[in-house]
Subunit: 427 residues, 2 copies
């Protein structure tokens, strides 16, 4: 490492660490705020965003110009782009978070012991939450709102493509917090856009209580594989729909079509359709036509190809790929056992569906398939915090610790035990 690199490295370390420490101090104050104070702050933040729309759009223009100069794709530029309307909708989202119930400070459990001790398990904020994400400015506001609502401090590290926008958002929101009961230091935006700032966050044990990655697979994998700070893994979804022999044909086709084409770019959309051979023989041809009509490229196993010869042959790699696109694997099986084995091998434990009129098979599928969400006769597209009635979502956990599936506000809390005695000692 040369001197300049060493200096840069030193500066990186100090920005991330310094901001995490400021967040830690703020977190202690955050934990004792009243719900009303937090809600009022969210409304003030919403107002500030709308009032500063012009300067936000200006900062955003820098990012867009830089992106264009770097040859960024139009679809990514669109995700990055802010205009008055989008800013208004981001501000509205803040107001919705303010209206949600506060999950902290609840007595979750009370235990009375024979020795007279009364033990209360109470929900409390997690502390300092790190969010590592890509170039969507709305995530900056959204993640901040959810973390602050739950009494946490947050350290945000967004993608370099949105750096100017995120810096300006941080200025506006921290400025707004100055006029509230919340410490502005509860909201930290990392400005170092180099890889090393992420690397450093991943190892900040003791300063960050959890890191939540939001973004594509490579971002998530990098966080999961390198973090020693506790992580909530979110996202990747290779989701299956299994149509059983007894399925209602109309229902099955509507569910399969919806799971694939209603919004193929998201994690809860279907990547592989598994059909019982009896169903396939009678209905696959018609279903395939509907999928082809909607522009879906089909890849099948041998038995599917026999029925839909225009499909390509599906490879093992295809079965493990989250396409997030108008592409679908089709596999024909001789029953639930073979379907379950395929899902166990290729699924990412996100969302899996069985369409069947056979209750025994439904129960078996729902019990035996190991996934965050298992469906009987409904589209996997419902795996979503808002669709579950949570009002907001910080992500969809595909791991088993702490939270699994769509994560609403309670996923951003921990608990502590409060023990009330009158002099009890251990004999």
């Amino acid at each position: 490492m040369n001197d300049q690199a060493a200096r840069n490295d030193g500066e990186t370390r100090s920005e991330v660490r310094a901001k995490a420490m400021l967040a830690g101090t703020a977190a202690r104050r955050m934990a004792s705020l009243a719900t009303e104070e937090k809600n009022a702050a969210l409304l003030t933040m919403a107002e500030a965003l709308k009032a500063e729309a012009v300067s936000l759009i200006e900062a955003n223009r820098d990012d867009l110009e830089r992106g264009r100069a770097n040859g960024t794709s139009e679809s990514l530029l669109d995700r990055l782009m802010l205009n008055e309307e989008r800013i208004a909708s981001i501000a509205d989202a803040l107001r919705l978070v303010a209206e949600l119930p506060d999950p902290t400070g609840k007595v979750l459990e009370t235990i009375e012991r024979p020795n007279g001790l009364r033990i209360e398990k109470v929900s409390v904020p997690l502390g300092v939450i790190g969010i590592v994400y890509e170039a969507r400015p709305n995530v900056t506001v959204d993640a901040a709102a959810l973390c602050l609502k739950t009494g946490n401090a947050v350290v945000l590290r967004g993608g370099s493509a949105a750096l100017s926008t995120n810096k300006r958002i941080a200025e506006v929101l921290r400025g707004a917090l100055e006029r509230t009961a919340l410490p502005p230091d509860a909201l930290q935006v990392i400005e170092d856009a180099s890889r090393s700032s992420v690397d450093e966050m991943l190892k900040l044990n003791g300063l960050l209580d959890v890191i939540i990655p939001r973004g594509g697979r490579s971002l998530i994998d990098n966080v999961v594989r390198n973090a020693t700070v506790p992580v909530i893994e979110t996202g990747a979804g290779v989701c299956h729909t299994y149509i059983d022999a007894s399925a209602d044909a109309v229902m099955a086709e509507e569910i399969a079509l919806n799971a694939k084409v209603q919004r193929p770019s998201v994690c809860n959309s279907m990547e592989t359709l598994i059909l019982h051979e009896d169903f396939a023989r009678q209905r696959l041809r018609a279903l395939a036509d509907r999928l082809l009509e909607r522009g879906v490229e089909l890849r099948g196993d041998e038995r599917a190809l026999a029925l839909v010869p225009e499909a390509k042959s599906a490879s093992e790699e295809d079965y493990g790929t989250e396409y997030n696109d108008y592409i679908l694997n089709i596999k024909v099986v001789n029953g639930l056992g073979e379907a379950a084995a395929h899902i166990a091998k290729f699924g990412t434990k996100h969302s899996e569906c069985i369409v069947t009129e056979d209750d025994e098979n439904a129960v078996r599928f729902l019990n035996e398939i190991d996934a965050a969400a298992v469906y009987h006769n409904a589209s996997t597209r419902f795996t979503d915090g808002c669709e579950f009635g949570f009002g907001a979502e910080i992500g969809i956990s595909t791991q088993k610790l702490h939270a699994r599936g769509p994560m609403g506000l309670p996923a951003l809390t921990s608990s502590k035990y409060r023990i009330y005695g009158n002099g009890q000692v251990r004999p």
Copy 2:
């Protein structure tokens, strides 16, 4: 790396990975077992241990002899030692686990959605649990019992000092499982006693759902700092007792004495006593005499030393040390704020106590102190699964994700969402 090292390294990888994969296959079967089948298996395991006492003691003798030859301390040898009585008590512990309620398969929450979807959140096993621990053979049995009871498979990696004992325990318990509904592969003992087998476990993302370290600080730190598999951090406790100005003097002294000397070697014992200056002036001398009488070495700040001149001066390092021994730091403060600041700086977020008759101070302490367990007028020694009424304990979590404080059987479960529809698709 020479050939031999490479070969050893290759073998290591294959033992750990192969056993984790066998455990994964067994985990799928474990998840659908009935509570009665799991309980029956625990009783069979208990019988087998008693029936094989002679061969267990023989294997244990190898470990003891090797330990003696290596100059292992008598106290460690005592922890390692098995005799008929200890085996009987380990077998009894298995029977107690069989009697506990099964926390899996419970509907934790039901959500009815306007579109007719019914969403159930159900408790399920975590999957495959890795346990990394030291040389106590009872942990091998105990951890296995708790994991199997909750429908999990377990990969146990105990210390090399207990290797012969653990191998024999595994043979006996796996042999017992052959006669039950449980797959013997749900119980795996790693025989490679080299450091590299632990290193490999820590990176087995996708094969292990969680790793729980049990042991001393260096073992826990190694796991936390190097694991990319989700970890539940357990253990380290630098616990404080703060005696407020208004404290009942007799109660305060009994609590302080109990927290220090009832069992100094455990994580929930007190390492630092913090006293309000008014209380210290009137009572510290007498309390110090009682502590000295019990053989406690005292280390104090300047104000404590003025009242107890025979104490040594406490360093910053002392305040951060988990002595697990008859040593106590004493600090005198001007009030709750100074006490809380000291705890925030040196505490490990394990167990903290205030002794006070002032309810306002009690509430402030219980709300503001960030720890797994916060006590009003009771000894920190109660932070323990059995004392909390959980019936068993896999450890005490000092992190905030998933579980915090004493972990009973529910800490070894995750959840999944079962969604029941009648053809719902996302509009």
